[in-house]
């Protein structure tokens, strides 16, 4: 019996890794196309089947890119710490992949006599699902720091320092966003969080918009995507922590970064957009037949694609933060907002929820959540200082402005 469990796990791992690698490659193509469209270009649409004129919308591009990366010279500069230099991309890559072991796609009952329902997740019944994802996700910062330190290069080091500070700062709002969801659904298991949203039919984004906002911003920052890509700002730092890397090691860094975005998108869907659930389409039982289970996977992937598209469009919509703005956003805005959401939710669960029943409960909770969002956004707005830079001014100096604002809230 244990051999069958092992086989089942191996098959799932194979599917997940194969799917992820393909998805990452084609998401890069999609990103390039979307970026091009936003810039009024067409993007890579030429590479098709080799030795023919068949182009299929440039779908051969990821393969060509991969082959190019693999056959490039793998140059290790003489001034690096070789051991750490080689370890860093591997660490980041492994951490990014292992994370997906806990992403649940639902459960399927094949209807064969004597077979238990199969959970479509590599690690079924992982009681600490969210903690696991959180823990493994934080390992990414080791890859960045190791790579930047081992490179023995100032640009790489700056990138690594920025990245370390950014990732560690944004873990806190990220955790606060997750805690709200955990509090609402009463479980750390990802499949049960999805299940609780499916059973009630109310996704967490409707009841906890503030928590969603905090989590979204923190997820963008954790994935190192624009407007939070200070770790590798091309204009300032050449390439940031992977300046000295080339060939397949560089590819591992880039793919790992991409997988962070993929993971963040999956988490957003699972925690806030009901995972595989869609009203009137997928049902809400924990275990489904093979058809419905497939439909659930499709629904989950469709939601995932929408979030990924949002990531891609957001990249070209808003300018990059300055580093001090990034830090004050994390500590002065997102952290308090996350706490407000958490405390408000705790009050609701302790004192509010028992007074209501049925649909009323969710309506009141949603109204409360949105009121909380608007109110806290308004308070944040009123507290924005008149100036946050140190440019020379004719009137009172910037420092005076800051203190004046702080003195009269």
């Amino acid at each position: 019996m244990s051999m069958w469990i092992l086989l089942e796990a191996l098959i799932k791992i194979f599917v997940i890794i194969g799917g992820l690698m393909t998805a990452a490659a084609y998401l890069v193509l999609l990103e390039r196309r979307v970026a091009a469209w936003i810039q009024d270009r067409r993007g890579p649409n030429r590479v098709g089947i080799p030795l023919t004129n068949i182009r299929i919308f440039g779908l051969g591009q990821p393969i060509a890119d991969g082959v190019k990366f693999i056959f490039k010279e793998e140059f290790i500069p003489g001034h690096v710490n070789r051991w750490l230099y080689v370890l860093a991309p591997s660490a980041m890559f492994v951490a990014a992949i292992v994370l997906f072991a806990a992403v649940p796609f639902g459960a399927v009952d094949l209807g064969i006599e004597g077979w238990e329902p199969i959970a479509l997740v590599v690690m079924p019944g992982l009681d600490v699902g969210i903690v696991y994802i959180f823990a493994v996700g934080s390992i990414a910062v080791y890859g960045v720091v190791l790579g930047s330190w081992a490179s023995n290069n100032k640009y790489a080091f700056f990138g690594g320092m920025r990245s370390a500070a950014q990732l560690i700062s944004y873990e806190i709002p990220l955790g606060l966003g997750i805690l709200g969801v955990v509090l609402a659904s009463g479980s750390l298991r990802l499949d049960e969080i999805v299940q609780s949203q499916a059973e009630t039919g109310v996704w967490n984004v409707f009841t906890q918009p503030l928590g969603f906002l905090v989590f979204l911003v923190a997820a963008f920052a954790e994935a190192g995507r624009l407007p939070f890509d200070l770790a590798e700002t091309e204009q300032e730092l050449v390439g940031g922590y992977h300046t000295e890397y080339s060939g397949i090691k560089l590819m591992m860094f880039l793919v790992a970064e991409y997988l962070h975005m993929v993971a963040a998108s999956f988490l957003i869907v699972l925690l806030f957009f009901g995972g595989w659930h869609f009203w009137g389409l997928t049902g809400s039982e924990p275990v489904a037949g093979i058809g419905v289970a497939l439909l659930r996977v499709v629904v989950l992937l469709a939601k995932f694609m929408l979030v990924v598209l949002f990531f891609m469009v957001a990249r070209w919509s808003w300018p990059r933060f300055r580093f001090d703005q990034l830090m004050s956003l994390a500590w002065k805005v997102m952290l308090p907002l996350g706490l407000v959401n958490l405390v408000g939710l705790a009050f609701w669960i302790e004192y509010g929820r028992p007074r209501f029943s049925g649909a009323n409960e969710w309506i009141v909770m949603a109204i409360g959540g949105w009121v909380l969002l608007v109110a806290s956004w308004l308070v944040t707005t009123l507290l924005v200082p008149a100036a946050s830079d140190n440019r020379p001014r004719l009137g009172p100096a910037a420092a005076d402005l800051d203190t004046k604002e702080a003195a009269s809230p």
Binding site: V34, D40, R41, T381, A386, L394
Partner: protein, 181 residues
């Protein structure tokens, strides 16, 4: 820098209102702009399937051609004005006694090093008989340096290729005078 310096003109940025401080107009504005462009028309011209629409192909200075006269022979009289005018010294002419009665000399060989040419159009300006002209062919490429040295045959073939789309100047002027008359 002294802030009370009379030569400094201070421009203060306008203070943010409540809407500006909430960042909502900026966030919405940013994403609307990107979404507009995401579905908007694309600027890319799919070369080589599509070609750039040129505002004035006749005014463009691309690959040279040697024009033919009514008999189909080369119009050039080997006067060397173009090679004298050429600032890049890319035109090489070998003159010989003309086999035709209408002129004394003709170019036995006429070569242009397209890699040396700077496409300034001086040769076209200098030519007294409207024999050398620049066409609108801009995608000039070759696999070797030798290939890019165009001889008389090649330059004449460029004329054959482009004469319908871009008639030579004397023909254009004749057409224009006919039209006005």
């Amino acid at each position: 820098m002294n802030s009370d310096d009379k030569n400094i003109k201070w421009v203060e940025e306008p203070a943010l209102g409540l809407a500006g401080k909430s960042y909502i107009p900026l966030i919405v504005g940013g994403i609307t702009t990107t979404l507009k462009h995401l579905v908007g028309p694309k600027m890319t011209v799919q070369t080589p399937e599509e070609r750039h629409a040129m505002a004035d192909p006749l005014g463009y200075r691309g690959v040279h051609r040697l024009n033919r006269d009514e008999q189909g022979s080369v119009k050039c009289v080997a006067c060397f004005l173009c090679s004298t005018a050429c600032p890049a010294h890319c035109i090489d002419i070998v003159a010989a006694e003309s086999p035709w009665p209408d002129r004394e000399k003709y170019p036995q060989s006429f070569t242009i090093d397209e890699l040396r040419c700077i496409f300034c159009g001086m040769c076209e300006e200098a030519c007294p008989v409207d024999a050398i002209e620049l066409t609108s062919l801009y995608d000039l490429s070759g696999k070797s340096r030798e290939e890019m040295i165009f001889d008389k045959q090649k330059l004449l073939s460029v004329y054959d290729q482009t004469k319908d789309a871009e008639p030579m100047r004397s023909v254009r002027e004749r057409d224009r005078t006919e039209k006005t008359n």
